[in-house]
Amino acid sequence: MSETLEEQTFDLIPLLAILEEYKNQKGAIIPILQRTQEIYGYLPKPVLKEISKRLRIPISRIQGVATFYAQFHLKRRGRHLIRVCDGTACHVKGAMKTVDVIHEQLQTPPNGSSPDYKYSLEIVYCLGSCGLAPVVVVDDKVYGQTEPDKLVRQLKRLE
């Protein structure tokens, strides 16, 4: 799978626009990678190589930054990102049960994707809505006081 992805070609035109936008800013690698990930969904190696070439920054440094921060992904992800908060409040209110149920019923393991790339599941630390624990964020929508079974039903309804 990863072999074919490596060979896959990527449309680099939007990337060039990003690089142009940040060309005069010092220390802009992080926002560049953030914007790049917005476009491609993750940070494919060929794209990182292109960034390295254009910015004249060694790929090792870019790889170093990309692997340091949790926000960056080097693997392809599903169409819907399910983020289960395992912050303190959510943890004590049973966040891991939600993870178990999603894994079981949607074949989506934690920090992985479903075989059809419909879902990706991430366990994240506090999302800052502890008053509503347990919290699950699906794409950009926040679900508070979630119940595992109800949540799975809602997830199944997504396109």
Partner: protein, 125 residues
């Protein structure tokens, strides 16, 4: 807006805003809704949509303001209603299905729905 380039200008602008606010409060039905991250997670967007819908149905105009978090996470979504010359009254856990009654009894009838009321925002806050 032109730039404010002195303390005097700032004070003048502040006074102008205070007057404007006083006037707005005298003439309008004010609705405030807590729409910080916790408010939104608790369903503030759905409640807000319902408020707009129910107001339209009844042909009522009101000034709707989204505000940040006042701290009572457990009572989100929080909605404040303030009628002209009346205090700003807060409702807690306002679900869309509660909106019609709050509008009918409080905004139209002038009687707050006491069982859902949390409190009055102090004037000096």
């Amino acid at each position: 807006m032109t730039k404010i380039s002195s303390v005097e200008e700032l004070r003048a602008f502040q006074q102008q805003q205070q007057l404007l606010r006083k006037q707005t409060l005298q003439e309008n039905v004010m609705i405030y809704i807590g729409a910080g991250t916790c408010g939104l997670a608790a369903g503030a967007a759905e409640t807000l949509e319902q408020i707009e819908l129910e107001l339209r149905k009844r042909n009522i105009t009101a000034q709707i303001t989204t505000v940040g978090c006042i701290g009572m996470c457990v009572r989100e979504p929080l909605v404040d209603i303030q009628l002209p010359h009346q205090p700003r009254i807060t409702y807690g856990n306002v679900k869309p299905e509660m909106v019609a009654r709050i509008i009918d009894e409080h905004i139209i009838g002038g009687k707050p729905v006491l069982e859902w009321v949390v409190g009055v925002v102090p004037q000096d806050w």
